[in-house]
Amino acid sequence: MLQVQSIRAKVCRVGAWSALFLAVSCTGDGRDKRGTQTVDVFAASSLTDLMNEIAGQWSAQSGRAVRLQFGASSTLARQIAEGADADVFVAADPKWLDGLPAEARFDWLSNRLVLVVARDAPDVSLSAIESLALADEQVPAGRYARAAMGNLGLTLPARIIYGSSVRDVLAKVSQGGASAGIVYATDAAIDRGVRVSYTFPPESHPRILYAVAVLAPQGRDFFDLLHSDGVRAIAARHGFIVLP
């Protein structure tokens, strides 16, 4: 009996110490964030390489950390709506900024929509695609792709492998999961496993627009940075269409 009690006391002590440790580590994180003014940036997955470069340069100059989170704009919008901490949000479709409490916003960049195939595969006919990798309907790349196929009078093939973001679609083609996929021109350019088989005419789909919103004061500096000519030049080098 005595032994049982001493074990119980030990368990309680361990529990109390772990609770204390947890509490300390949690407050530590919060203080770090306010102290160094970390900026939380949520960005469409097609911006991954561009944003990494911009944020890396800016962090080195300003000494402020940028925490980047990439995903489908629709996914990120839902996470923000459910309370995720985002100071700046860049979506690949302005409609995902609607309804969010933005302090300011602007249209930043544009892109082209392309059909990619594996690098060593022959060109495919748009009307006879065996299997197509396609982003989900709510994902901007999926919405643009469906519009483009529809406006060109094409029906989607029976076998569709869905991607939860445009980069997921790209991976499915380079991994051999689908014979073709619809992604942005900038995505096609970064993957050595694929090549562009067809470029959709811009009038075949709603204009691709990357829109930026600042959602909290500590995101203001980064938001202004995206406006700058220097950053626009970097974006152009990555293959994005810079808006005037």
Partner: protein, 224 residues
């Protein structure tokens, strides 16, 4: 939506048929073997239980990739794995395998070891003893292992999305469908039925496994 339920049930069923027979042999081997290196086999068997499922998926994709020689060969002979139904089956089978081994192993442990020795002293070989004594004695335990492997197969997500992708009607299981609906506007309403089905199927599996386990113990007269 119903197609996701159908895909889940067929994938989990096929994965159970695929994983349970080898699990029975492995459990029997681990139970009977006196080879000093058998801990290695035991460790390997348990790996899918502790590895991150996406790591399992990645390793499977590397093995079965249509870009690789083996995957290309399988596609050639009409058994494409990666990004096909069979890929979802294999992902679920690998995930369910350790559960089946553990469950069957426990069922075999419950058998009186003297029966084994008696059989062998009467001239039956080890293999014959397995077929004529062990297997007939522990079939409810094997079925219980199958029910648990089936339940685990139903819930497979990480390895499935990497190896098989999300193809409606073919590889999009309940778990994958819920994942995609979470992101789609208005998806919340459609998730309800899928979540309810998922919970109901798993509860049914656990109840079936428990009933079979009780039957097994009663047959061995352990519960009297």
């Amino acid at each position: 939506m119903n197609s996701a339920i159908w895909v889940s049930v067929t994938v989990a069923s096929a994965s159970t048929l695929l994983s349970v027979p080898p699990a029975v042999f492995v459990a029997w081997y681990l139970e009977k073997s006196r080879w000093p290196g058998r801990w290695l086999v035991g460790t390997l068997v348990m790996l899918p239980l502790v590895l991150p499922p996406v790591v399992v998926g990645y390793l499977l994709l590397r093995t079965f990739s249509p870009r690789g020689a083996f995957g290309a060969f399988l596609a050639e002979v009409g058994l494409p794995v990666a990004f096909h139904w069979l890929g979802a089956v294999i992902a679920a089978a690998v995930a369910g395998f350790p559960f089946a081994v553990i469950s069957v192993g426990l069922a075999m442990k419950a058998i009186d070891p003297r029966l084994d020795r008696i059989s062998q002293s009467l001239g039956r070989s080890g293999m014959a003893t397995f077929w004529r004594v062990t297997l007939p004695l522990c079939w409810p335990g094997i079925l219980a292992g199958g029910a648990i492997a089936f339940a685990r197969g139903l819930g497979e997500f990480g390895a499935t999305i990497v190896l098989a992708g999300r193809i409606p009607g073919e590889t999009e299981t309940i778990a994958l469908k819920i994942y995609s609906e979470l992101d789609s506007p208005g998806g919340e309403g459609r998730i309800g039925l899928l979540v309810a089905t998922s919970v109901a199927l798993c509860i049914a599996c656990v109840l079936v496994a428990r009933a079979l386990d009780r039957l097994h113990r009663r047959r061995l007269e352990l519960d009297r």
